[in-house]
């Protein structure tokens, strides 16, 4: 791994430098406190070995209740058909596809952290990548639910895949973005799962060697694939991780681009725009970092992992949130500019309607959460306050859900002929499925932090060791420079 040390030859002209003529600035430390290997193992697995606290049980009960509610709602939906939602002839997509795009977007931050930041050698990713990847997988599972249940006949879901069949064979339409979606989402889920699991194998082996309970030992033995920390395997393992990161990086960009094409390739005003792919990708990363912040602040505070998920980590995530938030704001502006400058009447009407029509409150809520909120992150004090960041992250989540709602419902409810206009009002089932998906997501996440190592133990050890080493190397030079 390349060193993060900044060596500046003859850095200061007024202060004579040390022996070598070089001042080595200490690298940022990403692990606080005791960096001994055993202590790191003990601290990270502590939540898995202890009984969960009251906070975990309260969160889990709520999440699980919502998850059960989802089961009931979906059963009712399948039994009665999608008429139980508030959909109508004007608005044929509403909460279902809003939720789908929202959850897919959430997933993107996880892959960004695990793949793109790995390629960029960002060491701060090590404390958060495991839980962010888990978040990706659970979010994509939630996302996958919606296309399945929004079909009139979900039992025919396998029609989405091209397989030799007795209906002709009638193949799927490979020119349709909806079919691209099937491939993009399944690939994304599979590759994320493989990447996540591969990263976890050494830690599962650590657990196997620690636990004494026979059943747990058996489970971890099966899961850890006989990992023994061989350097020959480590060498291959690291190359494979890099290859997977290289494959996942274009995947991050492609998945949400393809999702955006579900809209952009249509003719509906408000959807028919060429900026959709980059706009959606930026929005996805923005919302995903919002969710990562929410989850990590919760786990950090309830599981007492402050020395691994430090304020510096939260600060970095806040900066990425601010940057992507501003890209999203810029995309909003571009959309309005395009509507005005393009001279298309329907397009222009759509944007006037967006800002002044019956759903204007959704639009202003979205602006408040996605344009104004990230601006507060310029302040170092806000980036340094856990409570403030938590509030910001919740606002980001709300704002990005409403962004998708605005794009989907507001575009559909007044497209082209006024005789085809209508309104969408959510029913209890709409709201129940929305809440239920959050229940499913949090149920899985809470089980994950309870039963699996939620911080990559081996990666933290590598970073901590390097950190200790660089500090030892730079210390004498610093003292000599200070003495001079």
């Amino acid at each position: 791994m390349s060193s993060t040390t900044i060596a500046t030859p003859n850095a200061t002209s007024n202060a004579p430098t040390g022996r070598t003529g070089t001042i080595i600035l200490p690298p940022p430390a990403w692990v606080d406190g005791d960096t001994s290997l055993q202590q790191i193992t003990n601290d990270i697995v502590r939540p898995m070995e202890a009984r969960p606290g009251k906070g975990w049980w309260i969160c889990f009960s709520l999440a699980f209740a919502a998850f059960l509610n989802l089961g009931g709602m979906v059963t009712y939906l399948i039994a009665n058909g999608i008429g139980v939602w508030g959909l109508n002839n004007s608005v044929g997509w509403a909460f279902d596809i809003t939720n789908f795009v929202f959850w897919i977007g959430i997933g993107h931050a996880g892959t960004l952290i695990s793949a793109i930041l790995l390629l960029f050698r960002q060491q701060w990713r090590t404390s958060i990548n495991r839980s962010a990847e888990a978040m990706t997988i659970f979010a994509v599972m939630c996302a996958g639910l919606f296309p399945a249940i929004h079909m009139g006949r979900p039992w025919d879901i396998f029609f989405m895949f091209p397989y030799p069949n007795q209906r002709g064979p009638l193949w799927v339409n490979f020119r349709s973005p909806l079919v691209w979606d099937v491939f993009a989402i399944t690939t994304y889920l599979t590759i994320s799962l493989a990447f996540w699991y591969l990263g976890m194998i050494p830690d599962l082996a650590t657990m196997r060697d620690r636990v004494t309970n026979r059943i747990r030992k058996f489970v971890f033995r099966v899961l850890s694939f006989g990992w023994n920390g061989s350097q020959r395997t480590w060498a291959r393992y690291e190359v494979v991780s890099l290859v997977l990161a290289g494959l996942a990086t274009p995947l991050v960009l492609s998945v949400h681009s393809i999702v955006s094409m579900d809209f952009a390739t249509s003719l509906v005003p408000g959807w028919h725009t060429t900026i959709f792919p980059p706009y959606f990708v930026a929005g996805a990363i923005y919302s995903g970092f919002g969710m990562v912040l929410t989850l990590l602040i919760l786990t950090r505070q309830t599981m007492h992992l402050e020395r691994f998920i430090t304020m510096r980590h939260l600060n970095m995530m806040a900066k990425v949130t601010m940057l992507t938030g501003m890209i999203v704001s810029y995309a909003y502006l571009t959309e309005f500019f395009g509507a005005w400058y393009g001279g298309n009447l329907y397009e222009r009407y759509h944007f006037i309607n967006r800002a002044t029509g019956p759903y204007a409150w959704c639009f202003y809520l979205m602006v408040l959460c996605n344009v104004i909120t990230p601006q507060v992150l310029w302040s170092k004090r806000i980036r340094g306050s856990v409570a403030a960041l938590f509030v910001v992250s919740i606002l980001v989540n709300i704002g990005m859900w409403f962004e998708r709602f605005v794009i989907i419902v507001v575009s559909l409810h007044r497209a082209f002929l006024p005789s085809g206009w209508g309104m969408f009002y959510p029913t209890l089932i709409d709201v129940g499925v929305l809440v239920g998906a959050f229940g499913m997501f949090f149920t899985f996440f809470l089980l994950f932090i309870r039963f699996l190592p939620m911080i990559a133990i081996w990666e933290i050890k590598g970073v901590a060791q390097q950190q200790a080493h660089t500090l030892a190397v730079s210390a004498p030079d610093q003292t000599s420079a200070a003495r001079a």
């Binding site: 079919v179 650590t206 061989s230 350097q231 060498a235």
Partner: protein, 177 residues
């Protein structure tokens, strides 16, 4: 039952630097290192141990290339030859529209094949048993293992070199790795 010959010399360390020193010392005297076991990958160790760079990325290239060709042929066959569908008057051969699925399948098959190849090459599989020889290497211990092949193995010299490098324990052990 005859006693099992002790076929491995296992040296354990508690810090990375002693381990690196020991690896250099034994390699300088011509010992071949069977393997090193560590709780995390040590980055300049591969060169010291004389490990060649893995060829696994070629699997990615091969499998990804095969998937790319497969995806294109599948789409050409179904959309042009087997049952051309007229959707919105677009031509049957809309090659550009086939790009997203081709890309996704390339990534999917390339990635999964690479992971499968790693598991095969490193002989990792579900339920494989851990070796009792390597206690603590998944926690805080580093182990350097030399293989005792026959009488020409100079165990005395090896022990001496290892002990000079800050080892915490050297033991001859029998078993499989």
């Amino acid at each position: 039952m005859p006693p099992v010959p002790k076929n491995f010399l296992v040296a354990t360390f508690l810090d990375q630097n002693s381990l690196l020193q020991a690896v250099r010392a034994v390699r300088d005297r011509g010992f071949r290192i069977f393997d090193v076991y560590a709780p995390y990958p040590i980055h300049n160790l591969d060169g010291e141990m004389g490990i060649r760079r893995t060829r696994l990325p070629w699997v990615t290239l091969g499998a990804g290339g095969a998937a790319l060709i497969f995806a294109l042929l599948m789409q050409f066959y179904t959309a042009i030859w087997d049952w051309p569908l007229n959707v919105g008057g677009k031509p049957a051969n809309s090659t550009l529209a086939f790009v997203p699925i081709t890309f996704e399948l390339t990534v999917l098959i390339g990635g999964l094949s690479t992971v499968a190849a790693l598991f095969l090459r490193a002989r990792l599989f579900p339920g494989k048993r851990e070796s009792p020889m390597l206690h603590g290497v998944t926690d805080n211990t580093f182990a350097l293992v030399l293989r005792i092949r026959d009488d020409s193995f100079d165990a005395h010299l090896a022990r001496l070199l290892l002990e000079q490098s800050g080892v915490t324990g050297v033991e001859e052990k029998a078993g499989e790795l």
